[in-house]
């Protein structure tokens, strides 16, 4: 190797900046994060979901859009709701579905994540739906899959859970379609919530009028105000006159001294009760990504009451996931044909 006349040859080899989620035409290729997606793409997801949702009430719920495609649900963390709705969504699009639950024990066999991906690709899997405990896992997988494979993030660490946020947007739109006129509050464990991060990006991209986050300082991550939210530590001030209240789940291991002193004190300070709900707009809706800790995040009277849209969120989850899968796969098929 001569160092004297070294030509500045090789271009930088780095992960390219820019949006790995979009193809060169700006169409959805992977669905990894809400951050970085333009409003048009979010609206397209909602509109596509709308068309699937209207079909759900009919007896024949199936579409043949993904016939012959194989989708692998790769779940490195346990999940019931998200995994089953992804599975149903894939089946309603006529895809073949592989459910792979990777427990700690099987990853301790020493197989790396990359080896696992290569093996599944060799089985001609077309799409990975991934849930992983580490933030950035979906990015990592999307950066490493073959060009014909699409990746959908079903939750990575505390980073994002984009399909959950889109089903929440879908639910809000059904009740209150004019986002710029809305005041929305997100209550609880913002620190660890991937759902909250995706919701914040989605609500801001869709142009919501005002977005508030409410919680004790131990559950509000540093610099969250830079994400375009107003920070409240007092729930009564925070939910005054809001149109939408989103309650977040508080994981059991974060109660009892780690982040809050006790469930009881948390409920007293941040739990959603009918009395507190009365401070919001009279037609406010209450949401929760589930599963609910009754008596911790909210009273049963609120969870099952007339303002609650929690079960609608669940059924909307199928239509939104169908939309995301269909769009990513269609755009991918389209680009490989071109």
């Amino acid at each position: 190797m001569s160092t004297e006349t070294q030509a500045p040859s090789q271009p930088p080899v780095r992960i390219k900046p820019g949006n790995i989620q979009l193809d060169p035409n700006g169409k959805l290729r992977h669905f990894i994060a809400i951050e970085g997606l333009p409003k048009t793409v979010l609206q397209e997801i909602l509109d596509t979901a709308e068309s699937f949702a209207s079909a759900q009430d009919q007896r024949e719920k199936k579409f043949e859009l993904l016939k012959g495609h194989t989708i692998a649900n790769l779940f490195f963390e346990p999940s019931t709701r998200t995994r089953t709705t992804f599975e149903l969504a894939a089946k309603r699009l006529s895809a073949d579905v592989l459910n792979i639950n990777i427990s700690a024990s099987s990853s301790s066999k020493g197989e790396t994540l990359l080896d696992m991906l290569r093996n599944l690709e060799a089985m001609h899997v077309d799409m990975f739906v991934v849930r992983h405990g580490s933030s950035g896992a979906a990015h990592f997988i999307a950066n490493n899959v073959a060009p014909h494979v699409s990746v959908i993030n079903a939750g990575d660490g505390s980073h994002e859970h984009p399909t959950q946020a889109m089903l929440d947007m879908f639910t809000i739109r059904q009740h209150k379609p004019d986002f710029p006129s809305l005041r929305v509050a997100i209550v609880g464990d913002l620190m660890h919530s991937r759902v909250a991060r995706s919701q914040i990006h989605a609500l801001n991209t869709l142009g919501v009028g005002e977005l508030r986050v409410i919680g004790p300082q131990t559950l509000l991550p540093a610099g969250i105000e830079k994400m375009g939210v107003q920070v409240y530590q007092d729930i009564e001030a925070g939910i005054r006159d809001v149109d939408v209240i989103i309650m977040l789940r508080l994981q059991r291991e974060r109660m009892n001294g780690a982040f809050i002193p006790s469930q009881g004190e948390y409920f007293r300070l941040y739990g959603m009760t009918e009395k507190r709900l009365a401070l919001a707009k009279p037609d406010a809706i209450v949401m929760h990504p589930g599963p609910i800790n009754r008596g911790v995040e909210m009273d049963s009277a609120v969870a099952d009451g007339p303002h609650s849209v929690i079960l609608e969120q669940v059924s909307n989850g199928i239509a939104v996931r169908m939309a995301a899968m269909a769009m990513a796969m269609r755009n991918l098929d389209g680009s490989s044909a071109a």
Binding site: S2, T112, S135, F140, S158, M227
Partner: protein, 430 residues
């Protein structure tokens, strides 16, 4: 000691310790600098190095470089990394004690020194473990370790949680006139974190390491330094606030010094975007204010030295979701050009920039190298300041290719390196 008789012709000679920056020829004999400027009487050179258009300076002294041996020779070896060091103009490396086995016995010190002698490239020095197995429970046989050749004590990146143990370790190190190297980290505050705590960590959902993890550790360590009167060196500061605390303590009379890893003078948390695992480092890349503050501290002397904090990894170690990857970067190859760039960017004069990686780290270690007075050891780096090169897998000599500077254009590259008057690298040989 015998060695080749070398005449280095026509270069710009910069020896910051002795305040020299002038066009001078250098003559080397018997492993030492024989003459500067004027040929010694009757000198016949075995070899002539044409250094015209190049800079001749003391060989670089890197205060923190892992060679991964013993214990992790799948990542790199003493032979591979001391060779890479020579290619990069670094003549002395200091190896932290977190090898496997840990450097807590004379046998491990001897093993490392033996392997380094066999490799016959750059010099490899060792820091001994402050506590046995780095476990923070019992102090090591520091007197024995010193006898075996360690140049200081350190608990590497494993903080000693028990303040009483830490205090006694400092006292015992002071008893044996050993410098203690501390990488400040309060483990309860940094626990589980992998990036700087702030808006970016929040946005990416990555667990953060607050500034306080460093400043709390510095505050506690400073108190114990004062109490025990040990000589201490803070390694790899990442926050401007910690640097100011240390400078204040030094102003008040404490025997403390500090270094910064060169990448903390260039990169910030923003470089992590897209979850680039090459930027997974401990201490983490901090805010822009920290980066600029650390540059100021290098400029005004509050931070004394610059190191590479070299931590080579095999490719697989960085191939995983960001938090699951191994922290650390491979830094030997980029140390010299990044330090030179501080002069280009007017943070330091060229001579002062060179000083931060030569004379200053050598004095922190209590060593004579890092300067080129007549009859000092001929540890020399000759570099071409104008040579431009790109960081890529072909240009890196370290076994580790894990660098966030991949693709960057660098200016300045070693052309010859001499250790004890022996040519350990010459670009003519490659």
């Amino acid at each position: 000691m015998s060695g080749p008789r070398i005449h280095i012709q026509g270069g710009r000679f910069i020896d910051p310790a002795n305040g020299i920056d002038a066009d001078n020829d250098i003559w080397v004999a018997d492993g030492k600098v024989a003459a500067i400027g004027t040929a010694p009487d009757g000198f016949t050179a075995d070899q002539i190095i044409d250094a015209s258009g190049q800079v001749i300076c003391p060989g670089l002294v890197d205060l923190s470089a892992r060679t991964r041996e013993p214990g992790q020779s799948d990542k790199a070896t003493i032979a591979s990394e001391t060779r890479a060091a020579s290619h990069a103009g670094i003549t002395t490396l200091v190896c932290p004690p977190d090898t496997n086995p840990v450097i807590d016995s004379a046998a491990v010190v001897e093993l490392i020194h033996h392997k380094a002698r066999e490799a016959n490239c750059s010099r490899l020095l060792t820091l001994g473990a402050l506590t046995r197995g780095l476990e923070g429970e019992t102090i090591t046989a520091m007197h024995t370790l010193k006898g075996a050749g360690v140049v200081g004590m350190s608990n590497a990146s494993q903080p000693v949680k028990n303040s009483l143990v830490l205090s006694r370790a400092f006292e015992y190190a002071a008893t044996h006139d050993l410098t203690v190297f501390v990488r400040p980290d309060e483990p309860d505050l940094s626990q589980g974190g992998c990036v700087h705590e702030g808006p970016l960590a929040t946005r990416m959902g990555l667990p953060g390491i607050p500034e306080a993890a460093e400043t709390v550790a510095v505050a506690k360590t400073l108190e114990l330094i004062e109490k025990t009167d040990v000589r201490a060196h803070f390694s790899q500061l990442s926050t401007a606030r910690a640097a100011h605390m240390i400078a204040r303590a030094r102003h008040d009379g404490l025997k403390v010094t500090a270094d910064v890893a060169v990448h903390h003078l260039y990169l910030t948390e923003v470089d992590i975007r897209n979850f680039d695992s090459a930027c997974h480092l401990l201490p983490p890349l901090r805010s822009e204010q920290d980066r600029d503050g650390l540059r100021e501290c290098i400029n005004n002397g509050m931070i004394d030295a610059i190191c590479s904090d070299h931590q080579p990894h095999e490719p697989d170690a960085k191939q995983a979701p960001f938090p699951d990857t191994a922290p650390g970067l491979s830094g030997l190859d980029t140390l010299l050009p990044l330090v030179l760039r501080l002069a280009d960017e007017r943070v330091l004069s060229l001579s002062d920039a060179i000083k931060t990686v030569t004379h200053t780290p050598a004095s922190i270690l209590g060593l004579d190298c890092g300067q080129l007075a007549i009859s000092s050891a001929a540890d020399l780096c000759i570099f071409n300041p104008a040579e431009s090169w790109f960081v890529n897998t072909d240009t890196l000599n370290s076994r580790g290719h894990n660098t966030p500077f991949m693709g960057w254009e660098m200016h300045g590259r070693a052309t010859h390196t001499l250790v004890d008057g022996r040519i350990t690298f010459s670009n003519q040989d490659d």
